[in-house]
Symmetry: C2
Subunit: 336 residues, 2 copies
């Protein structure tokens, strides 16, 4: 910058002012500065700028995994909004581990990000607290943090599952099994609650399995159930991973969908219409959620305010009726 100033025959402050454009600078000086910048191909040092100023123009993004298409879609929206705002994004994965998440959040704070967007790890185990972040705004999404006043953006997990299971019941199924990973994941638990509500309302018995950690365990659980006396006639898988394991098990067991058992899942994915049969699912707006969360964060950053009690925004889901539930018609999308 000193070089630019010297070449332009002005002080460094004039260069700074030309760059920021906030304070009036004479036309002539501005011209000379611009030329000098060109000639020297001067690049402002954002590190120094962030260090000196109050803003790093960087936000942090913490998600469980990037290889999961759902989280990747969320992340895509975050990076897109940030780019539009001229912000950089520091990204990291927590691997669903509260300790990693905590350490990564601290690291981002040490890097003085202007704000964070986080998909928190396991509910009631996450160590993220409002106090940890001081005056740095934070928006959590997809999953909430218990008892902390963060802004949060969620989807209708319970209502979506409820509606989906109702649909299965309307197909005449009286034994619907719920397949999930773990109740310690907020979304899975919320979906389970929707499942339970629908089942209870219909006067049916609930049958939930929370051990879909691997193909093997899922297969074992399904094998038991399907050979037992209260054989389920429909299965609701609470996320795409569970869906995959369930489908694998069903193929392995030679069970036909929807003839032998009907199937519905939570979370749509690109190939869902080409599976055999096409899958009926609850579709959640992954990118929309990331976008809303990030916009909310920028609101907070721009206003410099930390809310006493965070907003809670709940986005609607859609029911996508394909074939696995037993529907005969063409694919239909039902808005709630």
């Amino acid at each position: 910058m000193t070089d630019v100033a010297r070449l332009a025959g002005v002080g460094t402050m004039t260069v700074s002012r030309v760059l920021s454009g906030t304070v009036p600078v004479s036309e002539a000086a501005a011209q000379r500065v611009m030329t000098a910048i060109q000639q020297l191909s001067y690049k402002p040092n954002e590190l120094a700028r962030a260090f000196r100023g109050q803003r790093s123009r960087t936000i942090g993004l913490i998600i469980p995994y990037l290889y999961d298409p759902f989280f990747a879609n969320c992340a895509h929206a975050v990076t897109t909004v940030a780019k539009d705002k001229g912000y950089s994004v520091i990204i990291t994965t927590s691997d669903e581990d509260p300790e990693t998440e905590f350490a990564e959040a601290e690291q981002m704070l040490r890097r003085h990000v202007d704000g964070l967007v986080v998909i928190p790890s396991k509910f009631r185990q996450t160590r993220l607290t409002r106090a940890l972040f001081g005056r740095t705004p934070v928006v959590v999404f997809d999953r909430p943090v218990a008892d902390e006043p963060f802004d949060m953006v969620l989807v209708q997990n319970t209502a979506g599952a409820h509606k989906m299971v109702q649909h299965l019941i309307e197909h005449g199924h009286s034994r619907v099994a719920f397949m999930g990973l773990s109740r310690s994941l907020f979304t899975i638990n919320a979906r389970f609650l929707g499942y339970r509500k629908a089942v209870q309302e219909a006067g049916l018995k609930e049958d939930a399995f929370f051990g879909c950690q691997s193909i093997e365990e899922t297969l074992k659980a399904l094998e038991e159930r399907l050979s037992g006396p209260n054989r389920p006639t429909a299965i609701f898988a609470s996320n795409t991973l569970a869906t995959r394991y369930v489908l694998s098990a069903l193929v392995h067991l030679g069970v036909k969908i929807p003839a032998d058992v009907a199937f519905a899942g939570f979370d749509d994915f690109e190939m869902a219409e080409f599976t055999s049969p096409a899958l009926t699912v609850v579709r959640q707006p992954a990118q929309e959620m990331g976008r809303v969360a990030t916009n909310l964060l920028f609101d907070r950053i721009e206003r410099g305010e930390i809310p006493e009690t965070g907003n809670r925004i709940v986005l609607p889901v859609e029911i996508v009726l394909r074939r696995s539930c037993g529907c005969k018609h063409r694919t239909a999308v039902v808005n709630r």
Copy 2:
């Protein structure tokens, strides 16, 4: 830091040394410093550290999209390796646009990243040059940059496609169609070259379509071909997007796989075994590629060297034989 030093009754340098751990500090002083850090819950300012020192302990990652599971997997590996090394990752998407890519690369340079990992946008259109980056190491992967001495990590696009198409031909197909997005994408073109080689070696006629930009265009192209005189009996789709569009078109046209036409794709994905029928594909090691590229980058960063001519590492692909090609046996993976 001054506060910590005062509380510990030492100079700031001692605090700095305790933190970095590079220079010996007396046991007693170190203890007092640690206690003071605890008490004040002091957090080093990484921004200042990066600004002052030579290293920002940050790398940049530029990929076309994050919503594409293949790229997301690549990104996952990059962030994982970086985390292991104690580095942060600034991520951004180029949207396959050379201008955006260029601007984002400059932005990262202004942020003084220690190195960059990039999946370059369109071949021969990308504006990334060695000169742009000065002494900052760069590793490109998945796709090369023409005429620039970057380190690059690729997969066997041509050989994989060649082998896959050979397999189709071995099934007795004499008219194999190639479906792709655009020859301006390096990978698609490389796969096309493998296709062409296999077709020519078998003395067959090539039939390639490069307009799979949308379902509609793909449908139109396929409709023409399948109703024409030289109806293809097998289709090779050169990436997952093309696969999706082709499957959609085939469903729409009521064409049965593999009875009416056989099918094979490039790039495996999680649900490929549950499509109808299970898809035969070339599997590329997405995470492995990201891992290798990032390790290579850290090598460069640690050695502080910019290669005159970049390394070119080519990773092997696998052929995953499922049902869509016409194979009757169970899924088999063939290493090349």
